[in-house]
């Protein structure tokens, strides 16, 4: 199994190479087949969906399905996609900014209580956010904010793990000497943060933004708890509501399948565009 990449002493046997590649291809098939099924299904009408083999095409009805989705409830699907983009963008922007500021504050200023704050941040980032969904709902219901955009945005803004990353980035990318020099030049602390530090932490900022964006796009339980008007749904919740209807109205199935496929597209484009950052982001989030 040794190869060019490892430059090992022993040449790989032909059989080993075939075996390795074969096994990898098998798992590749496993990883791709369900998505393939989704693509194929989105081209089928209701009858073909149940009467033809699921992993291969029959006559193409993608256009009809597409049109049906667009027309359903005055284009509610487009609205859901729009909501997802809105929640993810605003939520991730807010969270990134708050995280960078807090991380920078913790890394660069030895204020009283910094240790306690750091411990809290670490402790809170170990807890999955789903835990708080119901208590959050209770509070938001009490102050009458459920079913508004704030009910999903405000909880997204507060991300202890982002703060932890912010601190790591501030530690490693903002030199103390530079801050000292700016102070001597008469810059205020706020000015230093906005025009020096933020720029230096931009790579870290993009990574935090991206992790947040993906997390919010995929989030399901918070909107499920907080929102109940169809027009406020993000696309994940919208698809769930279609699925529920599909259990009694079978012709919803083509909508669910085509909608699922369409809902992946914006996220895929986003991840593709930020490819460079998300690999480092995954590793940052897991190995640091």
């Amino acid at each position: 199994m040794s190869s060019v990449a490892t430059g090992g002493g022993v040449r790989p046997t032909r059989r080993a190479v075939v075996l390795t590649t074969g096994l990898l291809l098998l798992f590749l098939l496993y990883s791709l087949a369900p998505t393939w099924f989704l693509i194929v299904s989105s081209t089928k009408n209701q009858t073909d969906l149940y009467s033809t083999f699921g992993l291969w095409f029959s006559s193409n009805h993608f256009g009809d399905n597409f049109q049906q989705i667009w027309q359903y409830h005055d284009g509610v699907f487009l609205r859901w996609i729009g909501n997802s983009i809105l929640y993810s963008t605003l939520g991730a922007l807010g969270s990134t900014f708050i995280s960078l500021a807090a991380g920078y504050g913790m890394a660069k200023y030895a204020f009283r209580g910094r240790g306690v704050m750091f411990a809290t941040v670490v402790g809170a980032s170990l807890l999955p956010s789903a835990l708080l969904a119901f208590p959050l709902y209770l509070v938001f219901a009490e102050i009458g904010l459920t079913n508004t955009i704030w009910a999903v945005l405000v909880p997204y803004f507060v991300n202890p793990f982002g703060v932890y990353l912010g601190k790591v980035y501030a530690d490693s990318s903002v030199p103390d000497e530079l801050m000292e020099a700016a102070r001597i030049d008469g810059a205020s602390e706020l000015r230093i943060f906005f025009s020096v530090a933020l720029r230096l932490m931009s790579t870290g900022g993009i990574t935090i933004f991206m992790l947040d964006f993906i997390g919010i796009w995929n989030n399901f339980f918070l909107p499920l708890f907080m929102l109940n008007g169809e027009r406020t749904f993000p696309v994940t919740l919208g698809l769930y509501s279609w699925l529920q209807q599909a259990q009694t109205a079978r012709d919803m199935n083509t909508l669910v399948l085509t909608g699922s496929l369409l809902s992946i597209v914006p996220l895929a484009i986003f991840m593709f565009a930020l490819q460079k950052y998300w690999r480092s982001g995954i590793l940052m989030g897991s190995l640091k």
Partner: protein, 321 residues
């Protein structure tokens, strides 16, 4: 999948806050150090609003109960009943069995998932660089698919009508019920494993690449076979990371919710409303309308999660020191 990024993260270690870093310009008590608090203020206020207050509020709610006056015909009113709700939750067999079910299932599923990820990472370690890039991209596709969508895809694949999986099984005369008895766990486990193997493979790959080459170069020169090197050199050196990833994935699993909730749509008799603790809380709150009891359950689940996280954190720190 939303939780995967945060749950797979390692607990930050003391190393990131080393004494060298402490000598930053604004020392403790130094002039202007308090300005750091200003930068942290938005977060601290948010933390208060979305962590501290909700927990306090939920605690307050959990001390109350909805009681109807008279013979149950009168208007209901909310009264404080002390720890009565907690007493009921602590002896609630359905709640604790959902907890035990999720933990047992999670342990097995995570072990299988990490096993496959490790296997794939080791395979990737042995193919040419160009092929690595190709396989890695393909194997990561499930990570890009949102949880709800991947649950939907597998839901259609598992459903008895119109599923190519059933068609293929029928061709070899196999009639497999994806939600019959223990098969439910297989189906759910397959869905979660499918979502997670690519992501975890990347993590394991990275730690394999971080191993010093000398570790196994010597063994290779001695003529050791590759599988032998993998088994006795590579795997023992990354066991720590595997255990860590596994433990924190398990904490995430305890909050399992979206996947079983979606699969329940076609298998309501195999996946009950109290299948996982979060499903039970959701059901109690929004179907039964008992907010007070759901609040108590949420807090108990939070405490159990906290204890697990604390124990795991201690185990890890001991291993590292």
């Amino acid at each position: 999948m939303e939780t995967s990024v945060s749950t797979l993260t390692r607990p930050p270690t003391a190393a990131t806050d080393s004494p060298v870093r402490r000598s930053s310009p604004r020392r403790a008590g130094g002039r202007g150090a308090w300005k750091g608090l200003l930068f942290a203020l938005p977060f601290l206020v948010g933390f208060l609003a979305t962590y501290v207050v909700p927990i306090g509020f939920a605690f307050n709610q959990s001390l109350q109960e909805k009681k109807s006056s008279g013979l149950g015909f009168g208007p209901t009113q909310i009264v404080y009943t002390g720890f009565a709700n907690f007493g009921s939750v602590l002896t609630d067999a359905a709640f604790w069995s959902s907890m035990a079910r999720t933990l047992c299932f999670g342990t097995v599923q995570i072990a299988v998932m990490l096993g496959i990820s490790l296997f794939l990472a080791l395979l990737l370690d042995g193919v040419a660089a160009r092929a690595v890039r190709f396989f890695r991209a393909g194997l990561l596709v499930p990570y890009v698919v949102p949880t709800v969508v991947s649950s939907l895809m597998w839901l259609f694949l598992y459903s008895p009508t119109g599923s190519p999986l059933h068609d293929m099984l029928a061709r070899v005369d196999l009639d497999f019920d994806f939600f019959g008895g223990l098969n439910t766990y297989l189906s759910l486990g397959n869905l979660l494993t499918w979502q997670g193997i690519g992501f975890n493979m990347i993590l394991i790959s990275a730690s394999l690449q971080a191993l010093p080459r000398e570790l196994y170069e010597a063994a290779r020169l001695d003529g050791a076979r590759e599988w032998r090197i993998a088994w006795s050199v590579k795997i023992p050196n990354i066991t720590g990371i595997l255990v860590l990833t596994g433990m924190f994935s398990l904490i995430g699993r305890l909050q399992l919710f979206a996947e079983p909730l979606l699969l329940r749509q076609i298998a309501p008799e195999s996946i009950n409303t109290d299948f996982t603790p979060m499903m039970e809380i959701y059901d109690k709150a929004f179907k039964a309308g008992n907010y007070q009891y759901a609040a108590a359950e949420s807090l108990v689940l939070a405490v159990v999660t906290g204890i697990l996280a604390f124990v795991f954190y201690r185990i890890t720190n001991r291993k590292m020191s």
